[in-house]
Symmetry: C2
Subunit: 415 residues, 2 copies
């Protein structure tokens, strides 16, 4: 069933060879489950299992760059084959981060239990956790839960899986695409979570992608690396890098349709994956804790990486974000963020356009229709374009606003 609503942002153009369906069923060669193992006190689903089957399974993975790594990140990085991940086991409700040697033991135990539940070797298993930091994970619950999940695996289990990985998310983030390749159609599905602690350079998030296309390990790794950089590396809810971020691409190869290196199919598959991850990244900031609207800041020009610094500074400025929340076209906040980002530099002659309306040029205000602009910034998506002197590449960051609900959620998360 066709679903035009997935690619709903003007900032993501899906290629012609991609169609989106209402999610309901995994690609060939995948089974999944989501169960409640008791980590969440609410009794909600909190443990997910995703399994790729067959002889042609390949995979790729990316992790957070935080200097404080959660135990499951370390265990997966050090004890799993990145190119041969058959199983992904994920719990929510506890991040298993800052938990020391005991936390490492629990992550390894989770890996072992998932391997046993699915009948694969331990180094074919990735483990992920999300939730509160600094609390020991109750491994007995996880082990019991994984054995339950192993019995519930099914070809339509990704709905429960997607719910099991949620924490403060207000909605689950899923997609199901068909990509037309030269050898025939392949399926691409994904489940993501993330709402707070989201930062460019990798969001605080988890994302799991499945396809029945046949990819080499190298192709999977190349395409995931490039597309993550354009998606989850370019979003910010609150400038906060997480200890647990993980993105996994699993390819079952069950469709028998190959994506050969340096082929036209590789381009087609890569562009589909790019559109998928960018839209999911936007879903994450749209769910940014309490978010009312989202924005894109694009910086053109600048020297020595100034554009990148300015784009991130604007996206992470609480003043800019609060103005975005209020539908306030107060571009002085953007001018202030530019100046602060480049502190110590000589005076900068910046240009600012909001939704195509030029409000400042060469560092000074330009007359414009303020009432019309106020209407433009009250919509769902707002675009800021900043020009700096210099010839730097364009740098973009997508971000959410700063809301009362963000404060409420984050003032009362553990207590």
């Amino acid at each position: 069933m066709s679903d035009a609503s997935f690619f709903r942002s003007r900032w993501v153009q899906p290629p012609d060879w991609v169609t989106s369906q209402i999610p309901g069923g995994l690609p060939q060669g995948f089974r999944a489950a989501g169960v409640a193992c008791g980590l969440k006190e609410s009794g909600r689903l909190d443990l997910g299992l995703m399994v790729a089957e067959g002889e042609h399974v390949t995979s790729a993975i990316r992790f957070t760059s935080s200097a404080v790594l959660a135990a499951p990140v370390v265990v997966t990085r050090d004890r799993a084959k990145a190119g041969a991940l058959r199983v992904v086991a994920v719990n929510s409700g506890n991040a298993n981060a800052a938990t020391g040697g005991r936390g490492m033991d629990e992550a390894a135990r989770m890996q072992g239990a998932a391997a046993m539940a699915c009948g694969v070797a331990e180094d074919n298993v990735a483990v992920c956790s999300t939730g509160v930091i600094g609390v020991q994970l109750d491994g007995r619950k996880v082990v019991r839960g994984l054995l339950d999940a192993g019995r519930e695996l099914g070809p339509c289990g990704e709905g429960a899986f997607a719910k099991a990985i949620m924490t403060t998310d207000k909605f689950d983030k899923r997609a199901s695409l068909t990509i037309e390749l030269s050898g025939g159609p392949v399926q691409l599905t994904a489940q993501a979570k993330g709402a707070g602690m989201i930062q460019p350079r990798f969001a605080t998030m988890l994302c799991f992608v499945q396809t029945d296309a046949r990819l080499s390990e190298e192709t999977a790794d190349l395409l995931l690396g490039v597309t993550v950089k354009r998606a989850f590396d370019r979003i910010s809810v609150d400038g906060q890098l997480s200890t647990n971020d993980t993105v996994v691409l699993q390819c079952s190869g069950a469709s028998a349709v190959s994506v050969a290196p340096e082929s036209e199919d590789e381009v087609r598959f890569g562009q589909a994956l790019d559109a998928l991850l960018r839209q999911l990244a936007l879903e994450i900031i749209r769910d940014g804790e309490g978010s009312r609207r989202i924005a894109r800041v694009s910086v053109r020009g600048g020297n020595h990486g100034a554009g990148e610094v300015v784009a991130r500074a604007v996206a992470n400025s609480p003043l800019v974000k609060a103005a975005l929340h209020g539908g306030d076209p107060n571009w002085g906040r953007i001018a202030q963020a530019i100046g602060g980002a480049l502190y110590g530099s000589p005076s900068i002659a910046f240009d600012i356009a909001i939704e195509g309306v030029q409000v400042a040029t060469a560092g000074a205000a330009l007359p414009h229709d303020e009432a019309a602009l106020a209407q433009l910034v009250a919509r769902d998506e707002v675009e800021y374009v900043i020009g700096l002197p210099g010839d730097g590449h364009e740098a973009e960051v997508f971000f959410s606003d700063l809301s009362h609900e963000y404060v409420t959620i984050n003032a009362e998360y553990t207590t």
Copy 2:
């Protein structure tokens, strides 16, 4: 009249030779005024004038390091004698920033009008502005207002002056100290403003300090430079550097008590100024838009400036700030901020203590009395001490929490 309440933070220890009075009257040789010239639509005071008189006037000044400088900052920096500022003219309600050539003209006109109103040369006048960015300053109102203010100058005008420099401040920030020096007592008074857009490396704030002690230009500059670094450089409300920050120290010399270079009196005066500016800096974050409580983060250890990076990251983390607001002892947020600040580094074995309670060591949680800790973090001031491997110097930052009111204020500032 003695006032024990000014030095109310445990983080500031005034020296024995300093006493604090309830503000009411400037040091000898100063007159001030505050008037309403119509820049604030509310009709509140929005223009202040501070004048030092006599033959021994010296001064020192520090500005924001933003790459986007407001017109009054540029005019004062380029057209005033930093060591001979007899007059300071300040308006609120308009920052005169990002206003181009016309804004520069208006700032110069403000300088000229203040000089005329007080009968001094233009290069003896510093001008400052605070308020909305990107809107042209109505210079006619300012000129008229300065002439009015010139007629109202008086030895007790600093109360109106302090009110005239406020924007979103909920309370005025003033102090009056007596310092015992070897040659007799001298007076030190100050007025500061600032509540939002406050960042280490210089807060979004204005601060004006007056003394009747006799200082050379060099001594005034040295002491102001050192004490600003320990005060306004070490606070953050929201990590946002402003376009307008200015701190001015004016010395009338009218007491005839000298502060000689490299003397014991220089130490005594410097320590008094240090305590004054640090307490005023804490007042600014205490007034941090919607602030309920303030905190100090101190980082010990770390290599290559890591301590400084971590201290600023913790102070600016919206997750840490929201937890502070909620009185939530969720130290996982601090662990996350450490990891994000040092992204790309190998895993960091951090220690964290909150109000003296060790909650994590070598990167892992430590058992502690959570109920007792929850009570400790619900008080007015909360202290976080972070240990990192390495032998870096201690780095400290003072910061406010993130509140609903911050969002309200900043979502609706211009509209």
